[in-house]
Amino acid sequence: MATLKSTGNGTESGKTKWDRVQEMDEFRLLILAKKEFVVPATVFFVIYYFALPVLVGYAPGLMSRKVLGPINLAYLFALSQFFVAWGIAFAYVGAARKFDKFGAHILETLKREGYDDRQDGKEGL
């Protein structure tokens, strides 16, 4: 860790494999695709989750209304949180298939260009 370049085992011109990946189009696309899913999903689940304590806390009358036989709105809204969370989780797993493809492609390109992945894992730890 003495110099900045010492952690990657670069081939020509001292360029590390990290630099090489950073300049790949696929890597930029991967980061972008992740952002496109993770940011809206996080914003949505945080708002949806906090709507529950806010509504239950400040509008208990509305939330106590029975909507399905003896079951009230408050319980249904709480129950819906579980299914929304599961839904987001499964949607993420679906979206992540694309991320994995980008990742595999990047690693393949690196291998073809002769960057070695064997000596890693101990860096900076």
Partner: protein
């Protein structure tokens, strides 16, 4: 002695024996696993990370087993039994919190780290100060959480085995010794399997109990919820009350109730992804994809369990009743008493044994994360500058640390005693995890300009902020009438300065503010920026991540 009395006595002894036998069976099986695992713990990767060979479903079940504590099983069932709907709100937060783990933390952590949470924080930064702070916050979170679990365990086991001569002290000591044995001899592999067995038992018991509750209402959900709408109990002054237990607000009343709920939500949603004992579980799987799938497995199991707390809690409220539970051990006994009421002594013994297994698995997970952090972060990286001087030294230090942490937790739990108010210890653990750990984890992975000063300040502000707000909050401060004595008395007899028991709503912004402040006031850190590019590649592609080892 009348015949009726004798019958009761005999039945009491029978369920005691049954409970004890089931406890011993569980202990025997888990010790067998520990012996098996100890023969496989020959390297650091196997001791700290189970050779990174745990599969997605196994890790998912183990995460569930690590997470669903006695607080969820007995605590939430009790809260719902006593306060109805408001108790169920806890259940929701404990599941939704896993979205933060899934979307933001699990995969980058697996790709960029090795054994501990601090691996990711120290990756770009000057490792010594960052690791020292991260290790401190890990130890605070884990030991406080552990002490809460141990006190819960002690009073629970003493209560379950009442009449058998097992006291609080004996129970705490036994739980402590078992958890030390699992971790010291079996490492992460044994801990993982203890957690898996516990989770399977807990889910099986909960499903069985839920089905029996619905059967009690002739398999009619309508009839069940109608009963929940008319729960009768008596107030301490003898008045009869009929309440709709579906109504929100029976526990969290204005003016501070809703804020308390929101603050608790903040701590849960952002704290779970900063709990060291949950995070280390993602190092036990071979790659980020498996880590991702294991979170989804965990969410399925944890979510199903928390939905079923509806039947456990409302079932106890309607079938057993608040009056009876209050006279027979209090809120925490709601689920076991429900089991007894609908299926008799054998099932009661079974549920009690599950509660015991639940506590053991959680404390084992806490012990291993605390001792790993001490050995890997503090001993090897802070004191010895990242060099393991002798082969296996880190493992040896971790074993000693597990032993010491265990002894400290046993001693503090015994000193505080069974009547201590421990709820604030759990609140503290989650608040520190959310306020100190999470902001720094998120900035390390996603913010290029983040630097060493920012990481240290974020950890420090979050840690000190949460502890301070709890110290000046209603858990510690309050004015009691002179009739309240002993451990139940507030430590500081003064009106609380901060009105909420859960500091998350204020302490999480304090943690983020500390991280921002440190980053802007601290020195520019070109190395941290350069290494960010490396971390970004690693975290997102898995390039150079720790591989599974053959076993």
């Amino acid at each position: 002695m009348t015949i009726g009395k004798m019958e009761r006595k005999v039945s009491k002894l029978m369920h005691l024996d049954m409970t004890l036998v089931l406890f011993l069976v569980f202990i025997a099986i888990t010790l067998g696993i520990t012996a098996w695992a100890s023969r496989r713990s020959g390297s650091s990767a196997s001791f700290f990370a189970a050779n990174r060979s745990i599969t997605a479903w196994q890790n998912g079940v183990a995460v569930a087993g690590d997470y669903m504590s006695a607080a969820s099983f007995l605590g939430i069932a009790g809260l719902i039994a006593f306060f109805g709907y408001d108790g169920f709100l806890y259940s929701v937060g404990w599941l939704v919190a896993y979205l933060t783990v899934l979307l933001i933390v699990a995969e980058p952590l697996r790709n960029a780290g090795k054994y501990t949470m601090a691996d990711v924080l120290a990756y770009r930064m000057n490792p010594r100060p960052v690791r020292a702070m991260a290790s401190l916050s890990t130890l605070v979170v884990s030991t406080f959480y552990m002490i809460a679990q141990m006190i819960g365990a002690g009073s629970l086991v003493a209560l379950l085995l009442k009449g058998s001569g097992v006291s609080f002290t004996v129970a705490v000591t036994c739980v402590g010794i078992l958890m030390i044995i699992y971790v010291v001899f079996g490492g992460m592999l044994a801990t993982t399997w203890v957690q898996i067995i516990k989770a399977v038992l807990l889910i099986a018991g909960t499903i069985l109990l839920s089905v029996l509750v619905v059967a009690h209402f002739h398999f009619s959900i309508t009839e069940f919820f109608q009963a929940v709408g008319n729960v009768t109990y008596h107030t301490p002054d003898g008045k009869t009350v009929v309440k709709d237990f579906m109504t929100p607000g029976l526990r969290f009343k204005l003016p501070y109730g809703p804020l308390e709920l929101i603050s608790l939500g903040v701590a849960l949603i952002f704290g779970t992804a900063g709990l060291p004992h949950i995070l280390v579980r993602f190092y036990t799987v071979p790659d980020a994809k498996t880590a991702r799938h294991s979170v989804v497995w965990a969410m399925m199991i944890i979510g199903s369990f928390y939905i079923m707390t509806t039947f456990l809690g409302f079932g106890a409220a309607t079938i057993v009743g608040r009056d009876f539970i209050a006279k027979n051990g209090g809120t925490n006994m709601s689920a076991p008493l429900l089991a007894k009421a609908i299926a008799g002594d054998v099932f009661f013994a079974f549920i009690c044994a599950i509660a015991f297994a639940t506590i053991l698995a959680v404390v084992a997970g806490l012990t291993i994360s605390a001792s790993t952090s001490f050995a890997h972060d503090f001993w090897t990286n802070v004191i010895h500058n990242g060099v393991e001087r002798k082969q296996g030294e880190e493992r040896m230090v971790a074993r000693i640390a597990a032993f010491v942490v265990g002894l400290i937790a046993i001693s503090i739990a015994i000193i505080l005693g069974p009547t201590a108010n421990v709820a604030f210890l759990v609140a503290l653990a989650f608040a520190v995890a959310a306020s100190a750990n999470l902001p720094v984890i998120v900035f390390s992975i996603y913010w290029k300009k983040f630097n060493t000063a920012g990481a240290v300040c974020g950890l420090l502000f979050g840690l000190v902020g949460s502890v301070a707000l709890i110290l000046i909050g209603p858990s510690i401060m309050g004015v009691d009438p002179p009739t309240v004595v002993g451990a139940a008395r507030h430590a500081i007899q003064h009106a609380p300065i901060f009105p909420l028991e859960n500091p998350g709503i204020l302490s999480v912004p304090i943690g983020f503010a500390g991280a921002l402040l440190g980053t802007f006031l601290g020195k520019k850190d070109p190395r941290a920026i350069q290494r960010f590019e490396e971390l970004e590649v690693r975290a997102n592609t898995g390039l150079g991540s720790e591989k599974a080892t053959a076993h």
